[in-house]
């Protein structure tokens, strides 16, 4: 079984037409993982029993001649920040090393209801805090395209697994770029839907007003299939939008001719690597060649996005992570005498350096005397950043940018400088703050054969529009 370039349709129709079985597909993936993942490190936990049970269900359907559901027999990976009933979920943290969730994340439940086989849980930065996957408490993930380099983060395991054909698609989460940036670094497609498009129920919270679940895939079409599966109102998440879910797959082949694509100079300034700039400019030319109209737009508050993001995200994180206290679940320090000592030592032992740094920054930004100067100020600038997009989207249908200012960097290159690491998200955090959707699609390579990503940002709930542009570009390249 050739797993290279195996897509959702390829896997599903092979099982449907009895050219293979879901069981064989699962076994082939596990064999490939066994062979490859020792050096990549994309998986934290394998869930073979769960996958094979699903394979059995799908194979019986195929044998009975029933039409398989949209993800029938498709092997998938789930980022380890999504709760899976009965299957260890660590969020990449030691504090949840032995945590077995009693319920399923809605997005995971919808994937499995659509026939997906969950192969296992994907490595990530601890509590999704990081841009290189080096903050995993277990082990880093290595970029399959160059093992000396990072896969990006925080959904580094999800991106690397798809890039290395260890899963057909994977779910990731994006709070500041954590789906799109690793997709760009690993040469796969990564889609962050509009805030509220996909339920966050069962997603381990990092920053609740910024957290999104979305797919990493080998093709734009596969990303569309997954989005169609997981999108839509969920009564368990009050912020999930009660809006109809379009057939994203059917929308893919609508023409892009005449679409207006914005290009903002703020995304092509200082810090952008030359090779990345050239690749993205070539991609824009190609889109123009497909009949899109390229329109200059301005997003003047872009230089304030990173400071805004790091105040809001850390403030929300400091509140969300207060729940890890060693009482109901998670790590508890041994030999403690008082309740207060138990809280402190459990958290000290359970959290890694970056998580502590963000809890401290967020707590500081929310503390008496600093709330107005930092947290409230950042919320106001968030309004300005969002207005920038409102303005721009009066003129254009989508905005095209680089996904990340550079291709994948080396392991250890930025790990001692938190600020340098934060700047890796400079082109992605804006969409999280504004709540708009964004997709990263591969657009060439550097001389060193490292993938480069083109980011396409869209209007609220216009995933169909950005998927269509991404699909047209992908088909033409």
């Amino acid at each position: 079984m050739d797993l290279k370039s195996l897509t959702i349709d390829g896997a599903r129709s092979a099982v449907q037409d009895r050219k293979t079985t879901a069981l064989e597909l699962a076994e082939a993936h596990y064999a490939h993982i066994q062979k490859e993942d020792g050096q990549i490190g994309a998986f934290l936990t394998l869930s073979k029993e769960r996958a094979l049970e699903q394979a059995d269900r799908i194979d019986r359907m195929a044998a009975e001649g029933k039409t398989l559901p949209p993800l029938g027999g498709v092997p998938v990976g789930i980022k380890d920040v999504m709760s899976t009933r009965g299957l260890r979920t660590t969020a990449g943290s030691k504090i949840l090393e032995k945590y077995i969730p009693p319920y399923d994340c809605t997005a995971v439940a919808r994937m499995e209801a659509a026939g997906a086989m969950v192969l296992g849980k994907m490595n990530c930065d601890e509590f999704a805090m990081g841009s290189s996957n080096e903050n995993s408490a277990y082990h880093p993930v290595r970029n399959p395209r160059d093992l000396g380099r990072v896969p990006g983060g925080s959904s580094g395991g999800s991106a690397a697994a798809v890039a290395a054909d260890m899963a057909v698609v994977a779910l990731g989460s994006d709070t500041g770029g954590s789906i799109r940036q690793p997709a760009s670094f690993c040469g796969v497609v990564g889609l962050m839907p509009t805030y509220g498009r996909v339920s966050r129920y069962g997603l381990i919270a990092f920053a609740s007003s910024l957290d999104h679940i979305g797919p990493l895939a080998k093709t734009v079409k596969d990303a569309a299939v997954v989005l169609r599966t997981i999108a839509g109102r969920d009564p368990m998440d009050a912020t999930s939008a009660d809006l109809p879910v379009p057939d994203y797959v059917a929308e893919l082949d609508k023409p892009v001719r005449g679409m207006k694509l914005g290009v903002a100079k703020e995304y092509f300034g200082e810090g952008l690597d030359d090779e990345v700039r050239q690749a993205v400019e070539r991609a824009i030319d190609k889109l123009q060649g497909l009949g899109c109209e390229i329109v200059p737009v301005s997003l003047p508050h872009t230089p304030y996005a990173i400071p805004t993001y790091y105040l809001i995200a850390t403030a929300e994180a400091s509140a969300n992570l207060a729940r890890y206290d060693g009482v109901r679940y998670g790590h508890r320090a041994r030999g403690v005498k008082t309740l207060s000592e138990m809280y402190r030592r459990s958290r000290d032992e359970g959290f890694g350096a970056e998580v502590k740094r963000r809890i401290m920054l967020g707590t500081y930004a929310l503390s008496a005397g600093y709330y107005d100067a930092y947290y409230l100020k950042a919320q106001k600038v968030r309004t300005l950043l969002t207005r920038d997009f409102d303005e721009a989207f009066r003129k254009v249908d989508a905005i095209v940018t680089p996904t990340s200012p550079t291709a994948a960097f080396r392991l250890g290159e930025k790990s001692n400088d938190p600020l340098a690491m934060y700047l890796a998200d400079i082109y992605t955090v804006t969409a999280d703050l504004a709540g708009i959707p964004g997709i990263s699609v591969p657009c060439g390579e550097t001389k060193e054969k490292l993938p480069i990503g083109l980011q396409i940002l869209g209007k609220h709930f216009d995933e169909a529009g950005i998927l269509r542009v991404a699909h047209a570009y992908e088909q033409a390249s």
Binding site: T239, S367, L419
Partner: protein
């Protein structure tokens, strides 16, 4: 330097973290460097800008209403055993580091 040793100790206390001396030194350096960077937000006049707490403020909200009425789209009537049954007792205790049959056990809270 915006943040001092004393601030680090105070914030760690609020955050229920102990931190080693080495961690505190690193935290002092990192927080100051990050806060210096975020200071650029003060270049912007935001005196007439409303804060944005949630993206979902932007859709479904009934602008003609006040307070939580504005978010009526996201609310529902209370239902007993509504969306999901509560976890069975033993399931809720299954991940606990130190449960007994009934409760989560913790070290003594009241000193005497």
């Amino acid at each position: 330097m915006k943040v001092t040793d004393k601030d680090v100790a105070y914030v760690a206390d609020l955050a229920n973290l102990e931190l080693t001396q080495e961690e505190r030194t690193g935290m002092l350096r990192d927080l100051n460097s990050i806060l210096e960077y975020v200071d650029r937000l003060n270049e912007l006049d935001t005196s007439n800008v409303a804060p944005m707490a949630q993206v979902s403020d932007r859709y479904g909200v009934d602008e003609t209403k006040q307070g939580s009425e504005r978010f009526a789209y996201a609310s529902r009537e209370d239902i007993l055993e509504g969306l999901r049954k509560s976890l069975p007792h033993e399931v809720a205790l299954a991940n606990a580091p130190d449960p007994d049959e009934e409760f989560f056990r913790v070290p003594k809270v009241i000193e005497r």
